[in-house]
Structures are given as C-alpha cells and as structure tokens.
C-alpha cells in the first residue's frame, strides 16, 4: 500500500460516495462494488498521466456505471434474458448525499452476518477504496485468499437480505459499535505490525485514522467516535518511539518521549477532553483519557498513576474484560505496590481465554520483578515468552529475562 498522495487520496475519498450512488441506482451492491474497484483502477492509471478530470466524482460514476452495465448486459446475454435498455442506460450523476452513503456503507460492511476478518477486508475495499492486492499484502495472505474472503462477504450480505439502507433505529447503536470495533481492529493491526518489517500493514493505522475521521465528520456529537479517534491518535503518536533501531519493542516506560508526535497528542487530548465534557461516557473515551494521561507525562516517572488507576476502575465498570483487569492491576501496582497488583491478578488465569494468553504471565513477571522476586519473575517471563505468538514480543520477554538473570 503506498501512502495516499494527493491523487490517490482523492479517488479513495470519493470511493464510498461513488459506490453509494451506484448501489442506490442499480441495487446490486456486489456488482456495484466490483465496478467501483475497476473505476478506481482506471483512475489510478489515467489520472496521474492525463491529469485529474474536472469533476472526478462524476468521472468515477460514469466509468463505474459503464462497467456495471457492461457486466449486467453480458450476464443477461448469457442467461438469454431481455435487456431492459432503459434501465441500463448509464446515467452519469453527481455523487449524492455523500455523507450518509459513507455511513450506510460502513454499516453494511460490518454486517452481523460476517465474521470479523470479512468485515475488515470488506470495509477496507468498499469504504477505504483499497485494492484486493493491497489488503492482501497488509494481512500477509495471497491475493486469491483475500479475493475469496471479500466475495464471500458480499455473498453473505446478499444472502442475509441486507439492503443499502440505514439500519432500523433499534439496531443502529449496536451496529455502530461494531463499526467502531472494526475500525479499532484495523488500527491495531497496523499499529502493532509497525514493529515488523512489513511496512504495508503499518499503514493500516493511517487508514483506520482516515476512516474514523470521516465518521467523526458525519457524527460530530458521538462521544465514542471522538473517543476512538482520540485513542488512535494518542496511541499512534508513540509510534516513532515504540521500536528501537533494531526493530525491538521499547516498553512505554523506556520510550524517548521527545520522539512522540506532539501534534497528534494535542489533537487527541483536545478531542477526548471535549468528548468527556459534552457526551455520554463510553469505553473508548476512557481508554483515550488513559492514553492522554500517559501522553502528558514528561517522563515515565511523572505519570499520574492514581488518575490512571481511577480511569481503569471506571473502565472496569463500563466494559469489564480480562485485559482491563490486567491493566488495572498494573496501575494498582504503580500506586499501591506490586503485591496489591499481583493480588488483583488472582483468579484471572481461570478465564479460559486468559489461561493460554501470554499477557497474564507477562504482567505477573513485571510485577514480580518490581517486588524483587527474581525467581518468580524469571519463571513468568519464560512462560510469557513461550505463549506469545509475536516474534518481537518474544524477543522482548526473553531479553528481559536474560537481563534479570545476568543482573542479579
């Protein structure tokens, strides 16, 4: 995936509006989505050479409509059906109610009938305007696998009888939460991948931020949209400092904070501050607030841990899950000492998901090390290193254990 420069940015920004216009006119989301992809491809070839057309949106609609009509015609010819010529006359219209289309598309791509990987792939293609090849590269799968995932996703949407229309009010909030979760997953995939050599997946973080910004423009009063955007910006701000020159992960406490992206931090802090004071409270806002407290500490030692502990306690009430419990235990250890943190972890291993997860022993190891219990720390670092499926995390955990072994 190349960084969207001016031109690529333009056609990808227009993609959801063009797709919305086509789907509304012809009804067939699956075929319209393919046609828009072809039009984007045509734009990627022609615009850089011949210049951007005067009305790029209308140009894309015209090209995509023609492709769609050609396809419907050839399908119909094959099926020996009559062509309803009047209906199929390409009608170059203007991209319509842009904003609603983008949102309707996002909600459609995150349909409950789809598994998470399918939602992510379809969102990146239909709303993000990325090609199947670009998405496949980002997720390190063959293009054919990704193409299959996308076409199955569209088929499932059709089978579920979903239409290109906003969901009923009763469903809307729940569906919107799913959209935000999918955007969060795309961000996470990109952010965590930036430790590796795979540059293309790293750019998914930028794509997630771009899409979340677009949602924020449409729903300026939604506190959770603002919270999610703030969380992404505040997390992404640390990216320049989160890996060392050799690609090794640098823990938050050891990061060179002068390398954090101040502009992103300022924007994130302003967003979350505004959301917290004007909108109903939600988990993304609280997570963003926690990231903001970290961002505002000049050094790791200046971190306002009592405030972070309070925010995690709040998050435990709003959206309890084992990862929040883990993070709250870390905060409690920083405020009240490691034994308090360790006590909070008791019983967490009984959660089936947590039992085989490396993060529980990783946190325990850090807290044991803080408490000066070298043997327990070594055992837990070793266990965490065995359980993780991330190469940089494993390297970090092994290095941490080696250092402890050598230093004591």
């Amino acid at each position: 995936m190349s960084v969207p420069d001016g031109t690529e940015d333009l056609w990808r920004r227009l993609a959801p509006r063009v797709l919305g216009a086509l789907t509304r006119r012809y009804g067939d989301f699956d075929a319209a989505e393919d046609a828009v992809q072809e039009a984007l491809l045509a734009a990627s070839k022609q615009w850089p050479e011949q210049g951007v057309p005067e009305d790029p949106g209308a140009w894309l609609i015209r090209v995509a409509s023609r492709r769609l009509v050609d396809r419907i015609r050839s399908d119909r010819a094959r099926e020996r059906r009559e062509v309803a010529a009047a209906l199929l006359t390409p009608e170059p219209g203007a991209p319509g109610a842009a904003d609603d289309d983008t949102l309707t598309l996002l909600l459609l791509c995150c349909h409950p009938a789809l598994a998470e990987p399918a939602r992510i792939a379809l969102t990146l293609r239909a709303v993000g305007g990325l090609s199947t090849a670009q998405i496949a590269r980002a997720f390190l799968v063959p293009e054919a696998t990704m193409a299959q995932r996308i076409s199955r996703a569209k088929q499932r949407i059709r089978d579920a009888g979903a239409r290109f229309a906003p969901p009923a009010a009763a469903e809307r909030d729940e569906r919107m939460r799913t959209v935000l979760h999918v955007l969060y997953l795309i961000f996470n995939e990109g952010y965590t991948a930036s430790a590796g050599a795979e540059v293309s997946s790293g750019e998914l973080a930028g794509e997630a931020i771009r899409l979340t910004r677009a949602v924020r423009v449409l729903l300026p009063y939604d506190g959770e949209v603002a919270g999610l955007l703030a969380l992404m910006l505040l997390t992404d701000a640390r990216r320049p400092a989160r890996t060392g020159p050799d690609g090794a992960l640098v823990p938050l406490a050891d990061q060179d904070r002068s390398r954090w992206d101040r502009r992103a931090i300022d924007e994130g802090v302003a967003l979350v501050t505004d959301a917290l004071s004007t909108a109903p409270l939600g988990p993304y806002q609280v997570q963003a607030a926690i990231a903001a407290v970290h961002a505002e500490a000049v050094t790791a030692a200046d971190t306002d841990w009592p405030q972070i502990l309070g925010l995690y306690t709040l998050l435990t009430r709003l959206a309890p899950n084992p990862v929040v419990t883990l993070n709250r235990a870390v905060a409690a250890a920083m405020v009240h000492g490691p034994s308090v943190g360790l006590a909070l972890l008791d019983g967490l291993g009984d959660e089936p998901r947590m039992a085989r997860h490396h993060r529980l022993p990783a946190v325990r190891a850090h807290l044991h090390e803080m408490a000066g219990d070298r043997d327990a720390a070594l055992a837990d670092y070793a266990l965490a290193a065995r359980l993780t499926t991330s190469i940089p995390e494993q390297r970090y955990l092994n290095a941490r254990a080696d250092r402890l072994r050598a230093g004591a």
Partner: protein, 131 residues
C-alpha cells in the same frame, strides 16, 4: 490468526487423501469411504470459499524424504524422514481464522483425526504490543 495444520497419518500405503490409505479406512464400506471423502471435500470448499485457506501442500511418500545433518560442518543427506514414529507427516495446511476456536473446529473436521492426528500450530507474526 494464522495456523499451520499438520496432518499425521499411519497409512498402509501412500496417496492422497491419505486418510483413505489407513487400515481402518480400508475396512470401511465403500459408502462410508465416499461419505468421508465428501465430508473432506466439503471442508476444503468451505475454507477456500470463506477465504480462510491460505495455502496447502500434499507431501510425497516419506520414503522419498532426505534428511540433512551437518554434525561436522559438512552437510550429509540420508534417506528417509527425520521423525521415526509410525505416524508420518502427510500434508500441511495454512489457515487464517477469526478465532483459535474456529481453527480447532477446522482441524477437528479432517477425517485424519479419526485415524491419526492433526496438529495445530500458531504461526508467529511480526506484530507486537509494547508492554
């Protein structure tokens, strides 16, 4: 999450699908064998169509394997596979699934699980979270 599925089989003779070459499968009725093969085809179609199947490799007879060692620095190849157990590696699949539970579910549907075993190994990734 990507997983490597390793198909281990104690087949009487080599061929694919390997589960039909086991002594147990040979004793089954033709209908039962066909049904098992159809189940396997359905599984492959399902994970192909869903975009979960990343890659697949059916392996040749272990008799054709060469194992290379270099205890003294100079590589020496010998005939035969590295593992000496009766269950031999017959093929590998890479799947990319939404959850570990789904990967286990896919593994459990290989007919080979009835006669040999399917080993499920997570594939490590380059992404990681700072701690």
């Amino acid at each position: 999450m990507k997983y490597l599925l390793l198909i281990y089989s104690n087949a009487e003779s080599w061929g694919h699908p390997i589960f039909l070459r086991t002594s147990q499968a040979r004793e089954m009725t033709e209908d039962a064998r066909s049904a098992m093969e159809a189940e396997f085809d359905a599984l492959l179609t399902e994970i192909h169509d869903s975009g979960e199947l990343v890659s697949v490799a059916a392996l040749a007879d272990p008799a054709t394997a060469r194992t290379v060692r270099a205890p003294d620095g100079a590589p020496v190849a010998t005939d035969g596979p590295f593992g000496e157990s009766k269950e031999q590696l017959a093929g590998v699949f890479v799947v990319d699934c939404a959850t570990p539970e789904r990967a286990e579910q896919i593994a459990g549907r290989f007919p080979d699980t009835r006669f040999g075993a399917v080993e499920l190994r997570p594939i490590m990734g380059a992404g990681g979270q700072e701690m």
